[in-house]
Symmetry: C2
Subunit: 319 residues, 2 copies
């Protein structure tokens, strides 16, 4: 489908995936609130199965396949959380998943995909090679491609994180979600615009991967040229996500690499939970824009917790 | 009081501190269970106020002071979690706290005590100097000393963590708690022996700080000679905790430094939560003793999450 989903589709997705996903908790932190001056509600998708919200959309897409399509399996190209999520979602439904991965992808991410029982297919490390290899795989196996964000079922599935957040909190003034390809932010914006009158939805993005901000400003999709530690936010917007975000998102707030690392460290220290740099981008925006958020009730989606622990100290020493 | 508390005292403590503490969640982890072969229920005291279970006992002791004693404030010597916990517990009741700290204690821990509004008093870094300085402080201010573990109110307060764990789970076969001075383990053992027929309670201790194990074997308190990264488990048992543990604890299980680090890393990776090395000791015991725990339902108290993040990678590189 090339149309964008509505709140009703997100509600259907929530029903469809309910038994497969974790209903993740919402955390608050008094000492962090003292520092920011806001009252923050953290939706902890780092506790989601496979360690990120991506499991929601992947599960929704897999469960929505026809029996004939499911029998032929699914495929995608990914070196990150979507690959592991699709692998696990397919495994849970008893169907096969083939994940095309650049041969230089981090070992831990390749292991994560294998851990969830998918077939790993290597390609050369560039977008052209990825797409060519994926086309070959699909031609040979007749499987269905499940893209990472620009897809009706994926956006609907990711929207369920915000649906739960709104069910479990009262009258938020703002919602902040990180934006890479924009699936999560689109789901949040649709959900908010149809159910939360007066709420303002913000994207959060690294300064060094600010293609969504530039795209909104230009009124067209600007390709990403990323150089950031937030490895989940390196993709550009798609046609569907650009349409939704242009319409329903207040603005995209950008933060520096130092602000991302500081925010990540603060969450680890104060909330005692492990989040990845991409998740910290939304927290960094909360801290960096007190003129917007001070005195306000702010929902924040902590998108994931998949991080190479042995690289963390290096990050934490620099700021 | 020099007697040991009973379950009724733990229940009274739970009432007394209810509005001041967090009722911490219990987490489970399917992938970790697959590896250990057990079904583990983690009581997340890393999410407790001040980042450890120590806030329970400190709050119970402070709330149990007479009005006259409360007016004169409290004091202790501590370079770790008990100091921060007593500082915060006193602040919440509006009374003063004086914490004697060795002058070479980690900056982050001194900052944590100051953050919670206590007065920091330096001494030379040895036990004799600590006790002498504490005696001076008490003589001058007339305040009440709240010791870290060998105390009726402290043991009762720490026991509330196990009381909640038992309320929130069904028929556990085992409970594992780390043992340093033994306040937490004593509270757990009392609670279990009076309310959970058939459950077996285990202490967990670093091989390189195995004074509790040696004390149980010898039938008398053996002083600690610790050399471990589990900085919360370096103290020896006290008279009260030795009495309780000798009577009600199955045994103390020891684990190596490498096993502690591996367990800590596993929890960070899989549960996406930050725990300190002392908390990882109980998880390490779960992994190291499959002959006891495989196929069993095991409660584990994750005691705290206060860790210097910039030192973590160094730990995670070594195993």
């Amino acid at each position: 489908m090339s149309t964008v989903p509505a709140l009703a589709n997100i509600a259907e997705a929530a029903e469809r995936i309910r038994s497969a996903i974790h209903r993740t908790p919402i955390m608050t932190c008094a000492s962090l609130d003292e520092e920011t001056g806001a009252r923050a509600y953290f939706k902890c998708e780092n506790f989601q199965r496979t360690g990120s919200f991506k499991f929601r959309g992947a599960t929704n897409a897999v469960k929505n396949l026809s029996t004939a399509d499911a029998a032929k399996g699914v495929a995608t190209h990914s070196s990150g959380n979507h690959g592991a999520a699709l692998a696990a979602a397919a495994k849970a439904e008893g169907i096969t998943a083939k994940i095309v991965v650049p041969e230089n992808a981090a070992t831990i991410k390749q292991e994560n995909i294998l851990l969830h029982g998918a077939e790993l297919i290597h390609c050369e490390p560039n977008l052209q090679a990825r797409e060519t290899k994926l086309d070959e795989v699909v031609a040979a196996a007749g499987c269905t491609v499940i893209p990472p964000y620009n897809h009706f079922d994926i956006i609907s599935g990711q929207g369920t994180a915000s649906l739960e957040l709104f069910e479990d909190t009262d009258s938020l003034d703002h919602l902040i979600a990180p934006v890479g390809g924009g699936g999560l932010l689109s789901g949040a914006a649709i959900c908010a615009s149809e159910s939360q009158p007066g709420i303002r939805v913000w994207g959060a993005e690294p300064e060094q991967a600010d293609d969504a901000k530039k795209s909104l400003d230009a009124g067209r999709i600007i390709p990403a040229n990323p150089n950031t530690i937030a490895d989940g936010l390196q993709t550009s917007l798609g046609t569907l996500t650009f349409e939704v975000i242009s319409k329903h998102v207040e603005d995209v707030l950008t933060v520096s690499e130092t602000e991302i690392i500081t925010a990540m460290q603060l969450v680890w220290h104060r909330l005692k939970i492990v989040i990845e740099p991409s998740a910290a981008v939304a927290v960094a925006a909360l801290i960096a824009y007190p003129s917007i958020f001070s005195g306000q009730r702010v929902g924040i989606i902590l998108t994931g917790g998949n991080v190479d622990l042995d690289k963390v100290a290096t990050l934490f020493e620099s700021p």
